[in-house]
Every structure is written in C-alpha cells, then in structure tokens.
Symmetry: C2
Subunit: 467 residues, 2 copies
C-alpha cells in the first residue's frame, strides 16, 4: 500500500478514524488463534456508506480488506495475512432494537452478543446461540463464523437465528437479504450463504435475528462415569428417550484434573468422565425430565448422579465446565483449540482415537465439549517456543482432522476454517465440492479482496505451527 493509497483512504473516511501508527496496527495483527500479521491501515467508522466507498476503492486498487469484530476467533478468521486494510467493526455498536411483536432483534455488527442476550431477556425473549465467548465477542464475528455453543444441541447455531442481513458486496454495493419474516423462499438463501462465510463474501453491516419466548425454568443433572464409553451410551439413550436437553456437556478426566488444579471444585478426579445436562422449558416438565434423565444415566452405568436443588448449586456445577478453557490455558503457554465434530454415535470411537493420538505424539491433550451434538473440543496444550513439540502438534492436529472426517464428521463444528484448517478442506469436501465453493467466491469477489488467504487453501499449503 502506497502513501497515496493511505491519503485517498483517509479522504473517504470523513466521520471515523484511520490508524496508521505501527503500535495501533499491531493491536490488529492477531486474534484468538495463532500467528501475527501486521495490516497496513486500520479503519474505524460507523458509516455504512463510507465503508461501501472504501470497499469500492479497495476493489479498484486490489487492496485486501479484513473485517473484524473483537477478534476472539480460534481459527484465524480476522488475521490480516496479506496486509492491507483492517475494518474494525467493533465500533459499529449503536443499534440493538428488540421488536416484541415481530419477535426479532435488529443489530449492528459491533454489538456484543451478551448484550443481545440481556436485551432479549429483559422483554421475556431469548436469543439462543451462546458461544462461550459471548460476553466478549461481537455479533458480527458470530455471524461471520456461524458460532455455536452448548445450547446448539436443542436450539441450533447462529445461522438458525439470522433471517435478514444488510451487507456490502466485494464491489461495494449495499444489499439486503431476507427480512423480518421467519419464512422466506424468495430466490437463493443469500443470508445463510453469507453467515459462516468468514468475511470472504462481504461485510455484514446489520442483521435481523429471530428471537423465541424465553423458557421459564431449567434443571441440571450431573452424572459421573467410570467409563467414557458408558457416558457416550448415556448421551445416546437420553436423546432417544424423547427428551431434548438444552445442553449436554462432556468433561474427560484430563479436563477435570486441569480444573481442580486451577480452582478446586470437588470434581471426581478418579472418574473417567462427567456429563452435565441442562433441561429447559415448563417448570413441571423439567422437574419430571430431570428425574427421567437421572434414571437413564444410572441404567447406563453412572456411578453417581446429582440434581442440584438450588440456583446456586446449579451455577457451581456449570462453573466447573466454564473453567476448563482458562484452566488448561495455564498449563502451558500455547493452546491449540480444535472443534472436530463427529456423528453422535461416533463419540466413543472419536474419544478412543484422540487417546491414541495423545499417546503417539506424547502431547498434553484434553477433551471436553458439546457431546450432545458430537462437537468435541480436543485442546492441545504446548509451548510454541519448543519447535520439536510444535512439529508433533502439527502432526497430531492433522490426525485429529483425519479421524473426524474418517468417522463421517467435519473439520470444524463451530470455530470455522480460517487459516489453520484451509489445507484440509479438500480432504473433507473432495475436489468437486471445493470447486463449487470457489466458484461462488470468484463470482462474487473476482479480485479476491475480501479476507484473502482464508478458507481456500493455496496450492501446496500445509499446516505450519513450528516456525
């Protein structure tokens, strides 16, 4: 990018800020994943029209454009890997409107997801997607990556709640997709194509989200197992007993040990696995369902089943699950969070494979996650300054992906492809499937300005963590 570029960009951005100092730009060089890449310029503006002009300019001058929220991404979505222009959408946080009659929220991309939860709940409504990062991540980032979360089991993911978008195309046109109706089959579903496209198809500047009535009550069941396979069986049997829990989370022994070392919570360290089940709905229904779930867990071999009786006890149980991520981050400085997802029936087999990979590469691997929908989170804890260890991590990550795909699963359940998983795309999709995706990208963004270097592997690209 030349000095003239910077000058012309500054002349487009009348109402916002243009950052070019190295120290400012450095703050935008990393995300929640791996690697740092310095952008040439950073833009903050609340004006959609200015953004559209910027994209038109970038398209003409072939400057890479990297939209970004709070950059909590675990897959490298916002990393400016080719330099160019970062658009900081976290400043676009003015609009958060709850319409109780239409049951929708209309939001600008910089609004924190937790603020949407709160605003909806204040009106007796609920925005179900609940990525663990919701208190720090923006809805724009959630939309770009199609974020999931524990409640995905019953309620689905971000995409299932987006019914309309305003977006800037890679040519700088402002388009609107979908609308305020839940049913809409007018033409191709651009809304659901754009959500989860990781910023490669345009910049989302507004979203219309579907809300549902808030569930009036919830109950929690905690079940401890001496065998991970039995825990897997209990999960299947609960789901086929006519009950659909709102959450069903798994913690393996290594994650319980990590939590106990971080903050003692009375977890059963000699057990192989623990599952936490949340039931939500009508107060009478959830009490009865909690009893049924307890029976199923006991029949499946649980050595202990507990139903917390107070709100405080419930919160304590869930707190242990939430502590897994910070707890394991303390073990070693580098945490590689994967989200390989397998069909539910393959959870025990996937756990076995992960165990083998852990032993084969002598790594600190912890398994926890959203077991009810097969969305496991194998996390490898390492030290990026130890090149020999990182080489083993590279190999282990590749084998995790291979195992997931071999078992009929997917590279990513909710974190996205970004940079790290791009080299493995063809393994899952096949050459023809990947080609159909590329055709959409090329048709919409022929100059490849929107988030270049993401999703699609470059020729010969390999996963490299050891540099």
């Amino acid at each position: 990018m030349t000095a003239i570029h910077i000058q012309e960009i500054a002349s487009i951005v009348q109402t916002g800020r243009v950052l070019t100092d190295e120290s400012d730009r450095f703050s935008y060089s990393f995300d929640g994943s791996f690697g740092t890449y310095l952008p040439d310029i950073v833009i903050q503006t609340k004006s959609v029209e200015e953004l559209a002009e910027l994209v038109k300019y970038a398209n003409r001058e072939k400057i890479p454009v990297y939209p970004r929220g709070q950059a909590t991404s675990l897959s490298g979505g916002p990393l400016p890997v080719k330099g160019g222009m970062v658009i900081d959408l976290s400043v676009m946080d003015d609009l958060l409107e709850i319409d109780e009659e239409d049951l929708v929220a209309v939001v600008s991309p910089g609004v924190l997801t937790a603020h949407i939860h709160k605003a909806a709940e204040a009106k007796g409504l609920m925005y179900p997607p609940d990525p663990s990062s919701s208190h720090v991540s923006t809805i724009g980032g959630n939309l770009a990556e199609n974020s999931g979360g524990p409640r995905g089991l019953k309620y689905g993911v971000t995409k299932d709640y987006v019914i309309g978008l305003e977006m800037i195309t890679p040519q700088g046109e402002i388009i609107r997709t979908g609308g305020r109706t839940v049913k809409n089959v007018t033409g191709y579903d651009l809304t659901k194509l754009i959500v989860g496209s990781e910023g490669t198809l345009g910049i989302i500047t507004k979203a219309i989200l579907r809300l549902i009535p808030k569930t009036p009550a919830s109950e929690t069941v905690m079940a401890v197992f001496d065998s991970l396979v039995d825990a897997g069986k209990a999960i299947s049997q609960i789901l086929s007993s006519g009950i659909l829990p709102s959450k069903m989370e798994l913690m393996d022994q290594a994650s319980m040990v990590a939590v106990e070392n971080y903050q003692p919570s009375g977890l059963p360290l000699d057990a192989d696995a623990m599952i936490l089940i949340e039931l939500d709905g009508h107060p009478m229904a959830v009490r009865d369902e909690a009893e049924q779930v307890s029976k199923v867990c006991k029949a499946a071999g649980a050595r202990e089943v507990r139903v917390p009786q107070t709100k405080e006890e419930q919160e304590d149980v869930w707190k242990a699950r939430k502590l897994v991520s910070p707890a394991i981050a303390r073990i070693k400085p580098t945490k590689i969070s994967e989200d390989a997802t397998v069909p539910r029936s393959k959870i025990p087999e996937m756990c076995r494979r992960l165990q083998q990979i852990k032993e084969k590469y002598r790594l600190h691997l912890v398994v926890f996650g959203h077991a009810g929908d097969g969305n496991l989170h194998p996390n490898i804890i390492a030290d990026k300054s130890d090149k020999e260890e990182m080489l083993r991590v590279e190999q282990a990550v590749a084998e995790i992906f291979e195992a997931a795909v071999e078992l009929g699963g997917t590279l990513s359940g909710e974190h996205g492809i970004g940079t790290m998983k791009a080299p493995f795309m063809e393994m899952e999709l096949g050459a023809a499937g990947l080609d159909m995706m590329k055709r959409i990208k090329e048709a919409w963004d022929p100059n490849n300005i929107m988030n270049p270097g993401k999703i699609f592997p470059e020729p010969g690209q390999k996963l490299v963590l050891s540099e």
Copy 2:
C-alpha cells in the same frame, strides 16, 4: 431435441425407462400451479451414475433438464417451460433409513414425506416439517422448494432439518455437502444454498435429515373472534407470554363459509375469524399452557374459547382447517394459491389490504394460513376460461405481492418463486441483490441447463394468466 439426442439419451439410461410417447410426456407437462408445457423426453432411473451421465450429456448439448418429484408445486417449479428433458425422481424411492443414534434420516429424493414422518415416529423420533401436501409430495420436491407447513412456527422449515446432501452439479459431477453432524462450518453452506434453489443448481439425489425426539403430548385451543384485528392481537400476545405453540392457524370468514358448504363442521359462520392453536411437549406442560393460552385469547376479546378434551375432538377441529383447500377448490375451477408472508405485527394490516384488493377487483378471495409466522395463504378462486376475470386476477396478484413487500414481507413464504413470481423478484431484492443470485447461477450453470425459465425473470417478463 433431435432423434439422435433421443437415441443417445436412451443409450445412457441402461437400467431405467425413457418415455417419448406424447401421452406419457403429457403426464409430465403440468404441476399444481398454472399452465402446461410438453417436455421432449422423460427419464426414470434409480441410478445416480446414469443421471450424472445424462446431465453431462445435457450440458454438452445444451438440453434443458427439469427434475421433478410428484409435481404438487404451487409455483411452477417442475414445469418444463423450455421443453427438453424431465427427470422423474419419484422413482428414486428406495432409501429411507432412520439412525436412532445419530438422530438422522437418510433418504432418496422420491420418498414421500409422510413416509419419513411415519418411519421416524415408529422409532420415537420426529421429522418436523409438515407441508400440507406431505402425504402426496416427495422429500425431493420439499427440498427443492424448501417447503414449510403449520409447524414452521415452532420448528422451522425443511431447510432447518437438512444437514447433508448428495447432488449432481450442472456439469454432471456428483458432490456431497454437509454430513451427519448438526454442527458443520467447513466452508460455505452449500446444503442450505441448494435447498430451496428450486432445481436450478443441480439434482438432489440423497439427503441426510436431522430428527428430534418425538414430543410426548399435545393440546389444541380453538378461539373464535368477532374481529380479525383482535385475533391478530391474540396471536402476538400468546407469543410474548413465553409460550411457543407448535401451530397457530388462522381461518377468515370466507374460508369458514367454504368449509361449511363443502362439509358441515359446525363452524361459527357469523364470526370474523377463528384461530387454532396446537401446543406440544411434556403432558403437564401442554395442559398448563392450554389454560394460559385460553386466558390470553379471552383477554384479547375472543367470544368463544374451546379446548377439545379427547383425541377425536382434537382431530375434528384440525380437520376443518385441512378442508379449506379442497373446499375452496370446488367453488370455481381455477385456484391461485399465494403465500405472501409479512412480519407478524403486520398480519392485521395485510388482512385489511387483502380485503381492499378483493373488493377492488371483485374477486373471490379467501384468507387462511399459518398466522403465527405471518405466512398467510390468500387464495383467489376463478375460472381460467373467463379471460376478463383472469385479467383482474393478474392485477390482484401483483397488488398482493406489492402489499407484502411494502409491509416488509416477502413474495413467498414457502411455495417458491417458480415461474409465476419471477417477474416480481427485483421488487423485493433490488437489482444488486438479484444480481448476486444470478452470479451464483451463472458460476454453477453457465449453460443454463438446470430448470431454465425459473426464478430469474427474463427481460420484460410479466405475469400472464389470461392467455
């Protein structure tokens, strides 16, 4: 199409049938909408490989390809408007596998949707999408059109339950999208792009459908109103009271009169509107919710509220709703079924507009439909041999679309665009939005062989019903 074409096509189809007799082809010239178009050739084969070869051949020779299920489409989806080749996928009905552990159904496109309902229920599971045609329509057709139904209010539409597809691309490649996991963010969501694309992007040859546990109980509430506006208010208030019914259906006075004339059912003919509400879930929860809903309806001005006490009484109430379509079809020979959908808050206003359109054009217009999600079904009953009347129908249909879009709604909630709504696409989407859809079509199907003449308007195309 030449004799050589027909000969070469016949040589590709080794295991199936090739129909060229005019009487056979005539059976494939119409659907549940308007108009007849004779195809040149009709293919029936269960072999995906043969189909892929056929599409490769058609792409090379630029022959239009029209995939088709049972052709119950109300928007012209399967009509072979440019002649060419019809692919009768109703014969591909062999695969209907319910996997209780993964909570999925794997189906071939020719399976009737009602058979999927039955197979899932036999294993304690549920496939929620329930288009009214489910006993006669194929899942392939439901996938192509992204069919809805009354349960869309709580459970969403077809697209919300499709997690994987096998598809033949317009170049004759067989690709697989998604898989057996509910969460999958590996690349662009081709699954949700293809579902609802009305056969314009390829031929679906297999689908993986998400199932949920079957709800154990249901209750029905019937509420009669002297004012349509009060009925609309009741609908809003139920939804904001923390209850999400599985169905919430509206019948206006004209539809009640039609039903009574067709099959006397004791409907309150002097009332302005009736709403039928179904609650499903835990037995204790639905009983309590039925009481709450009854109270809300009374407070909103219902003159009568009834909760049927037996299974038989429940069925009788819902039967009246199901009779609307056949009842109005008997009034005059030509039924134009629309599915303009508006934001929930605009239902009373849309009803007012429809009343004005009815009076302005002196037409027999009946309003009923899925009021809970704003998906109304204004049906015009006419006689296509009466050209003067059909001219008025054309104008009325155009005004219905305009009203829906003006109120922030959409041309189509669940029937699709097909041929009839194509001229109105730009009104809803804008030129830039429509252009982004066209780019996908052109990138995937540069020779425009897949279901040509659908969705995208041809230059100057207008709605013509009066020819």
